[in-house]
Amino acid sequence: MSDDLDDLYQQVILDHCKSPRNFHTLDGANRKGEGYNPLCGDNYTVFLKMNGDVVEDASFQGSGCCISKASASLLTATVKGKTKAEVQALFAKVHDMMTTGTVSDEGVGKLAVFAGVHKFPARVKCAILSWHAVLAAVEGKDGPVSTENESD
């Protein structure tokens, strides 16, 4: 397999896409966000249990490609325990990393495995899809959000 491909489908990603974590609906969820990628027709719902401004638990449902599934899986693990403001800040960092490939900040942690996606412009929307959904969820927005007009 060539280098670029290995960058995209890192072992962590392959692992999370084959065995996604938190891949279920969430009892006691009080927020949810839907993300839709019109390029492929895939969509995910992210469920959150929030206590005030803090995400106590997170899960997701839906279907899509390996990248999007792994991203949603890692996302749900990552946002647990974070505040709304922290999730928003993380979205910005992750978005930046996925479109530029540079990991500018410690904050992204494990999510750094998605830096390679920037070399695959048509796949950036996959990686970012569930992030749109979680952002909508913490911000309490209604209705599905779409990656369309995403400036990636």
Binding site: S2, D4, L14, C40, C65, C66, R123, C126
Partner: protein
């Protein structure tokens, strides 16, 4: 069915496919370190040198605006533009060049008919009959005009994964309430070749106007609008070796003559007053503003090129590659194949268990193989089949059996990579 609709062009000629391939500069390149295998022809074809050179020649020698000019360059441009119209008429055996309207592509052709013909002829209670395998371009324009006129939509079903039209439902659906029946000649996601002449005949008996979406067939098999017996037929240049930005709407003379204008502007008028305008006849009535002159000229070169090969030869070649690829794919484990088992046009559409189509396409691309993954602008059909997307390999005459072998090898590699 298909062969009955064809004009024999050069059935007996031996075709030197390798030589033809060398006419396409773009094919001679490496992608991600591998020789490019371009299997995305249903989305857009590549262009032979003859077409690229026709564009160059036009811009380097003859460019000017058409129709309204008297000077030499304008004469040349007008002559070349109208010669392209005549060439298109010959290509689909239209009765006269006046039946050929240049559009941006298939999509604009359908929108033109939906707006100009539809707004005039559709009433509340009328039905527009489509099929479940239509491209978004042959659905959304009808939804828009249905909303405006109060007409309603109905769909002829597709049988399932094998993707045939369920003709047993035709009697029930093709009724006197139907004012227009629009359907694709070849499905871009299934590879199904529909019995267009038969469908048109059934419609004609009830006085139903017909539109054939020939986007996937025009450059692949010989078309004869008179034998097909439709009222409208549309296709795009970019899918049949011609430039982007131009396409064709053919309409039967009587039908065009009764149609109000679509866009207004220069070139389509007889007289303009501040408050009243009279219009030219077809085709000019439907071509407002400066047309895509170089596009028409490039399309002309493309049609010459295709007919020098012979569309029978092309279709046979496409079908052979598709049959071979289909054959090979069936031997893989964990694969779901779409479209008819036999008689398919030049494409294969499939899904691997547990590997999403877009992951297939990304990995294939890294191996130099250009596939397309997605809903192929057939979302309603995908939903019906319970999927969101497929991976598709679509062939043209410059593709080879060796490329199909490599493609199969790549698909095997993908199954291994994702460990399914």
């Amino acid at each position: 069915m298909i062969t009955q609709d064809t004009i024999p062009t050069r059935p007996n000629k031996m075709t030197d496919w390798a030589k033809l391939r060398a006419d396409f500069p773009i094919l001679d390149q490496q992608v991600h370190g591998h020789p490019l295998i371009y299997f995305d022809n249903a989305a857009s074809s590549q262009k032979p040198r003859a077409v690229i050179e026709a564009l160059d020649r036009y811009y380097e020698r003859d460019n000017a605006n058409v129709h309204r000019g008297i000077h030499e360059l304008s004469n040349r441009a007008t002559t070349a533009f109208e010669a392209a119209r005549e060439r298109v008429a010959k290509f689909i055996n239209a009765k006269t060049p006046e039946e050929i309207i240049f559009t941006r592509g298939t999509t604009e052709g359908i929108n033109l008919v939906a707006q100009a013909w539809g707004t005039k002829n559709l009433r509340p209670g009328d039905t527009i009959l489509l099929t479940e395998m239509e491209h978004h371009s042959n659905i959304v324009p009808w939804q828009l005009v249905a909303e405006r006129t109060g007409a309603k939509l109905a769909y002829l079903p597709v049988t399932g994964d094998e993707g045939l039209l369920d003709l047993s439902k035709l009697d029930q659906l093709l009724t006197r309430e139907v004012k227009l029946f629009a359907f694709t000649h070849i499905s871009n996601s299934l590879g199904t070749v529909n019995p267009v002449a038969e469908l048109c005949e059934r419609a004609r008996k009830l006085g139903v106007t017909t539109l054939v979406d020939a986007a996937q067939s025009a450059g692949h098999l010989a078309l004869d609008v008179q034998k097909i017996g439709c009222d409208f037929l549309v296709f795009s240049s970019h899918k049949i070796c011609g430039p982007t930005g131009i396409g064709v709407l053919w309409g039967r003379q009587e039908v065009l003559d009764a149609m109000p204008p679509y866009q207004g502007g220069g070139e389509m008028i007889l007289t303009v007053d501040f408050f009243k305008t009279t219009y030219k006849k077809a085709p000019h009535r439907f071509e407002a503003g400066t047309p895509d002159i170089s596009g028409a000229i490039g399309l002309h070169a493309a049609l010459d090129y295709l007919d020098a090969i012979g569309r029978e030869n092309i279709f046979k070649h496409d079908q052979e590659l598709a049959a071979y690829a289909y054959e090979q794919l069936t031997q893989l484990k964990g694969i779901r194949l779409f479209g008819p088992k036999t008689g398919r046009a030049g494409l294969v559409s499939f899904l691997l268990d547990d590997v999403h189509a877009h992951d297939v396409v990304t990995v294939a691309d890294q191996r130099g193989v250009a596939l397309r993954g997605g809903h192929h602008c057939n979302q309603p059909l995908m939903k019906k089949l319970g999927i969101v997307s497929t991976a598709r390999a679509s062939f043209y005459f410059y593709n080879t059996r060796a490329e199909v072998d490599r493609f199969i090898e790549v698909v095997r590699g993908i199954q291994k990579f994702f460990g399914t």
